[in-house]
């Protein structure tokens, strides 16, 4: 049994979902912070993207992210399925008063499903989207900024993007706290801090990502 038995146990699987989720949260946090260069201008943004993709280690990071994503998804689906099996018959009524469960915490898998669909379409739209080029001081780089302005000219796209980022924000608002609590950080010393960190990162990520297409739509 030992550590291999741990991974097979329900608590072990929670650790796996929590670890991969937290690492992914760090990725989206770095992604949103990097993307703030949109507000600086096309050159700053395109050069940032060029520096990222021209780094030979980018492929390692990409494979790492795919692995994180697949493991997070697979183990979360497995846990969610066994959690549903554990309550085969539903209650006629749901608690409404002091014993009500926060609906955000109950809908993690729905938010997850939306984020999954979003990520696939996000990669198709941007990573594998039209390859425009721009030239800065004789250096030809991909003009992602132009593609973004083109994509976010559509109000439908902006609204869809904003809704998906709300879902991501909700997912993180519970996910980060929950992951830290799964690791054992639920203690008078950490409780308030864990809550603040979880909600803080969720707000920065979702509001940060929402601000970008809205800015492009109205000001570019």
């Amino acid at each position: 049994m030992g550590i291999f038995g741990f991974i097979k146990s329900s608590i072990g699987q929670k650790y796996v979902v929590a670890t991969t989720g937290l690492l992914f949260a760090l990725f989206v946090l770095s992604h949103v912070l990097g993307n703030f260069l949109i507000f600086v201008g096309p050159e700053a943004y395109n050069m940032y993207s060029y520096k990222l993709i021209s780094n030979p280690f980018i492929i390692v990071a990409e494979i790492g992210l795919v692995v994180l994503f697949v493991v997070h998804l697979a183990v979360a689906i497995k846990l969610t399925a066994s959690n549903m099996v554990a309550r085969p018959d539903k209650y006629a009524l749901q608690a409404k008063g002091k014993k009500k469960t926060d609906p955000v915490t109950k809908a993690m898998w729905i938010q997850g499903a939306v984020i999954f669909i979003f990520m696939v379409s996000h990669l198709i739209t941007f990573k594998y989207g039209t390859y425009y080029t721009a030239e800065y001081d004789g250096l030809v780089v991909r003009d992602l900024y132009k593609l973004m302005v083109e994509v976010f000219a559509s109000p439908l796209f902006v609204v869809g993007y904003v809704l998906c980022m709300v879902m991501l924000g909700l997912h993180l608002s519970h996910g980060i706290q929950s992951a830290l609590k799964t690791f054992g950080f639920n203690h008078p010393q950490y409780e308030a801090k864990v809550r603040t960190v979880g909600l803080g990162v969720a707000l920065i990520v979702s509001l940060g990502f929402i601000a970008q297409p809205v800015y492009i739509f109205f000001f570019q």
């Binding site: 049994m1 030992g2 550590i3 038995g5 741990f6 146990s9 329900s10 608590i11 072990g12 699987q13 929670k14 650790y15 846990l79 066994s82 959690n83 549903m84 099996v85 554990a86 309550r87 085969p88 018959d89 539903k90 209650y91 006629a92 009524l93 749901q94 608690a95 409404k96 008063g97 002091k98 014993k99 009500k100 469960t101 926060d102 915490t105 109950k106 993690m108 519970h174 706290q177 929950s178 609590k181 799964t182 690791f183 054992g184 950080f185 639920n186 203690h187 008078p188 409780e191």
Partner: protein, 256 residues
């Protein structure tokens, strides 16, 4: 009853009726008249059952024992809430004055795969007993008991152990968790022994055995919704779940 504040009430009940394990159940409607607002919820059900017997119908079966909130036997979900709308009480401590005259109240059994329904509102919670049997004990040598003062226990640890030990094993945590997880129960039982010197010795083996038994019984996993703490009649803290997770990881790493 007979107290000055009591008022007469009529309640429309929708109660789960199921003839036996695996049988198809359904809600039956019953109008309970002439109730006193000072009755406990279980006394109200007693009156309903007397009515049903008079009508030559089978009474509704429900679990109850001490009727003073310490045995953890009464188990039902009232309007979607385990032990009803009030915090930190059991169903037997809930009074009809919490409801309004003419209210409709829906009463269901605790629903979980690991708590199969025996009949109506009675569920089989022996899965909890098997979790306890797997490790929820302290091994002691027989013979004369040693002097209690020879085992110093610091006050904060003794308080935490005592808080966890107030768990009455009613199963409201499982009933209210969207995943029917027994994490609060198991973690409370682990904490109340592990904080004490007598229990510390077997902590690793106990944690491994009880968590594994919990998984075997078919309870769901914890997703930190904290619905269990809200429903717990003893207000047991979800902090115990985090502690269980840490101890389970540590015990798994050390296991030989």
């Amino acid at each position: 009853m007979g107290n000055d504040n009591s008022t007469e009430m009529t309640i429309h009940l929708k109660i789960w009726k199921q003839d036996g394990p695996g049988k198809k159940g359904e809600f039956i409607s019953h109008e309970a008249k002439g109730l006193s607002s000072e009755m406990s919820f279980l006394e109200m059900l007693d009156v309903v059952n007397e009515d049903l017997v008079r009508l030559n119908q089978r009474p509704i079966e429900f679990d109850h024992d001490c009727r003073e909130g310490i045995c953890g036997t009464c188990s039902m979900v009232i309007n979607g809430e385990a032990h009803g709308p009030d915090k930190e009480i059991t169903t037997c401590q809930l009074h009809m004055r919490k409801f309004k005259d003419g209210d409709t109240i829906t009463v269901e059994p605790f629903r979980a795969k690991a708590f199969p329904i025996i009949r109506d509102l009675v569920v089989d919670r022996s899965s909890f007993d098997r979790v306890i049997e797997s490790g929820g004990y302290v091994s002691v040598n027989t013979g004369g008991a040693q002097d209690a003062n020879s085992l110093p226990i610091n006050k904060p640890d003794s308080d935490l152990a005592f808080e966890a030990a107030t768990c009455i094993g009613c199963g409201a945590c499982v009933a209210s968790c969207k995943n029917a997880s027994a994490s609060l129960f198991v973690s409370a039982k682990l904490a109340h022994l592990s904080f004490l010197p007598q229990g510390k010795i077997e902590q690793d083996a106990r944690t491994l055995a009880m968590v594994r038994q919990m998984d075997t019984e078919g309870f769901g996993a914890c997703t930190n919704t904290e619905a269990c703490e809200a429903a717990c009649p003893k207000g047991i803290s979800v902090e115990n779940i985090s502690r269980m997770n840490r101890q389970f990881l540590k015990a798994s790493i050390k296991e030989r």
